[in-house]
Assembly symmetry: C2
Homo-oligomer: 342 residues x 2
C-alpha cells in the first residue's frame, strides 16, 4: 500500500526551517513513507541536496512559484495564488499522486483551497476541523474547531459521524464515546441546535453519551473520546485552553525564577518540570484534520517548529494507513440512507 | 452609608459549613459591614450563638423554612419554595433591608428567583452573569457566563455597558478596555450577532478595542479589562479553562509524587508551588454578579469553601460601596437615550 504525503514546505511562520527537518525525521522513522516537498525550488533544492540522495526514491521536490501569506484573505489566495505551494500540494492529492497533504499555512486559505480543489463528500454540508487535546484520561478529540461560525443540528450530527472515524483510526478503538458540548448536562439545557443535534445522536448508531460541559475537554468526570460542537464555540474553547495553559506556565516560570532559592528549587525539580511539560506540550497535539472533503488535508499550527510539524505528518500517516477518508464516505452514505429509511 | 448584605446561609454544597465561617471572617475584617444570615433557625441559631453576641448589632438571623436543592429546576423552585433561604435573602434586597444578597445555591433557581423578585432595569432585555478570572496581566472580567443561551447584538451591547460599571468598581479604573470575543481579530471574522455588536460598540462611548480571541481571557497579547460574549460561549470558555487548570494541576501533583526523588523535589519547591497555586487559585476569583436586575445578587460557586465564599461576599461589599446598580441604571438610560437621539 502506498503512503505518499505532499508537504506544503513553504507554509507556516517558519517555512522550510520547520517543514524540512520534520519531513526528514519522518522519512527516517518510517521506511514505507514517501514525501513530496512542494515549494520554491530555488529555496528548497539547496536545503535538500543530501536528503534527495539519502532518501532517493522516497523524497521528491515539486516546484511551486508562489506562497500564500499567513494573513492573506482566503478568497484572494484562491483567486491569485494558483501556483502556491499550498495549492500545488493539494492538487497532488486530487490527482492521486499523494494520499494526503500537510500544511502549516493560513487556515482560511487552506480550507478554501482544499474545499475548491478536492470538493465535498456527497451528503456532507459543511467541512469541519478536528484535533486532539490532552485530557486527564489521555486524549480527547474535538470538532469543529473553526471551519464554521454556526452549525445547524444536521451538521453537528455529520461532524460526529466523521469525527468518530478519525478517533477510531488515531486511538485504535472500535466504538468511541461521543459527547455534545453544552452549558449543562441536563436535557433542558442549551440552545436549539444543540437540543436538535442531541435527538439525532440519540437515534444514531454512534456511542453517544449525552451532553458534556467545557471542562470535559481536558478534565471531565468521565472519559469522552470525541466532543462535538459548532466551530465558533470549539475555536473559542480551544484558544481559551491555550490561554489558560500559557498563563499557568508563565506563572510557573516566573515563580521558579524569582529568587536564588526558587532557581535552585527549579534545578532540583527539573526532571519533574520536564515531565509535566512533556505531558501537556501542545506540539505533541499538533495536526488538525479537515473533514468532509474527498481528500485528506492536515493543518499544522502556523507557529509549529520541527517537532510540532512532525506530529502533524504523523497524523497524516495514520489517517492514510487507516483509510479514514474512505471510511468516512462509507459511514456518511450509511448514516444518510439509514435516516432516509426511518 | 449602610452596608447590609443578606446571606443565603443554606445554599451551596457545604451550606452553613462554608457560609458561616466566611460571614464571621468578613464581619471581623470590615467594621462597617452588617450581615443578615438567612436559613433554618434551628440549624443556624446554635452555630451562631457566640457570634450573635460578638457582632451584636451587625449580625442577625432571619428564619426561612425551606431550601432549594442544587439540582432543583428553576421553575419548581420559583413555584414551590417561596420560603427558601435563597428567596427570603433576595426578598430582603427588594424590601430595602439589604443592599445585596450572596448565595452559593443553584444558579438557575437563583437567577429565576432574582429576576422574578427584583425585576429588570428598564432598557435591559436580558440579565447577564459576570465574573473575573486571572490573566497574565492581572484580571479579566467576562460576561455573559451562562444566563443566556444566545444573545442578539443589542444584548451583547447592553452586557458591555453593564460590565464596564462592574469593572470600574472592582478594579478601581475609570475607562476599562472592552473586547468582543470572536474566532479571529479580523473584521470579516465571526457570526452575525458578533459583527452587529461590534458596530454598536464602535459607535459607543465605551473604550472598545475590537475583537479578541479565546486566549485573551487568560493570556492574550494585550490587556483587556472586560470581555463580552453570549452566555453559551462564555460558559463553555469558563469551564474549558477550569478543566485545563484542573488537568495541569493534576499532572503536576502526579509528577511531583511519582517517586521518592520527586517528592523531595516537591518539598524543596513547596514555597514556589504554593505561590503558583495562590496566583491561580479559583477561590480568589469566586463571586459572579448578576447584572441587569434592580438589585445586587452575587452568585458564589456551589462548591465554595469558606475562603471562596468570603471572596464572593467581598465582591458584594465593593459593588455596594461603589453603588454599581445605580451606576448601571444611569449608564443604561444614558446609552439608550444616546442611541435614540442618533
Amino acid at each position: 500500500m502506498s503512503l505518499i504525503i505532499s508537504i506544503d514546505a513553504m507554509g507556516g511562520d517558519h517555512g522550510p526551517d520547520s517543514t524540512i527537518p520534520a519531513s526528514l525525521d519522518c522519512l527516517r522513522e518510517n521506511p514505507d513513507l514517501q514525501l513530496i516537498l512542494v515549494g520554491n525550488e530555488q529555496i528548497l533544492a539547496p536545503l535538500l541536496e543530501h536528503a534527495l540522495v539519502e532518501f532517493s526514491g522516497r523524497l521528491s521536490l515539486q516546484h511551486a512559484s508562489q506562497c500564500v501569506a499567513m494573513d492573506e484573505s482566503p478568497s484572494k489566495a484562491l483567486r491569485n495564488k494558483k501556483d502556491s505551494s499550498m495549492r500545488v500540494a493539494i492538487n497532488l492529492v486530487r490527482e492521486g499522486k499523494a494520499d494526503a497533504c500537510v500544511s502549516a499555512g493560513n487556515t482560511g486559505a487552506l480550507m478554501a483551497t482544499a474545499r475548491f480543489v478536492l470538493k465535498m463528500i456527497p451528503g456532507i454540508d459543511r467541512p469541519a476541523i478536528i484535533s486532539s487535546m490532552p485530557s486527564i484520561f489521555g486524549h480527547t478529540h474535538v470538532l469543529d474547531l473553526g471551519a464554521n461560525v454556526d452549525s445547524p443540528a444536521a451538521s453537528l450530527f455529520q461532524f460526529a459521524v466523521m469525527g468518530a472515524e478519525v478517533v477510531k483510526a488515531l486511538e485504535n478503538i472500535s466504538d468511541p464515546t461521543v459527547g455534545l458540548l453544552n452549558i449543562g448536562e441536563e436535557e433542558t439545557k442549551g440552545n436549539e441546535q444543540v437540543k436538535a443535534a442531541a435527538k439525532l445522536l440519540e437515534n444514531s448508531k454512534l456511542n453517544y453519551i449525552g451532553y458534556v460541559e467545557g471542562n470535559s475537554l481536558n478534565a471531565g468526570d468521565e472519559k469522552v473520546d470525541l466532543i462535538v460542537c459548532d466551530g465558533f464555540v470549539g475555536n473559542i474553547a480551544l484558544k481559551s485552553i491555550e490561554g489558560a495553559a500559557k498563563m499557568i506556565t508563565s506563572v510557573m516560570k516566573e515563580s521558579f525564577s524569582s529568587s536564588l532559592f526558587t532557581k535552585v528549587a527549579a534545578l532540583i525539580s527539573y526532571p519533574v518540570l520536564k515531565a509535566i511539560k512533556n505531558r501537556i506540550d501542545p506540539r505533541l497535539y499538533n495536526g488538525a484534520s479537515f473533514l468532509g472533503l474527498k481528500g485528506l488535508v492536515i493543518k499544522s499550527h502556523g507557529g509549529a517548529d520541527a517537532l510540532a510539524f512532525k506530529t502533524a505528518i504523523h497524523v497524516a500517516e495514520i489517517e492514510v494507513e487507516k483509510n479514514v477518508i474512505q471510511k468516512i464516505s462509507e459511514q456518511v452514505e450509511h448514516a444518510l440512507s439509514r435516516r432516509e429509511n426511518t
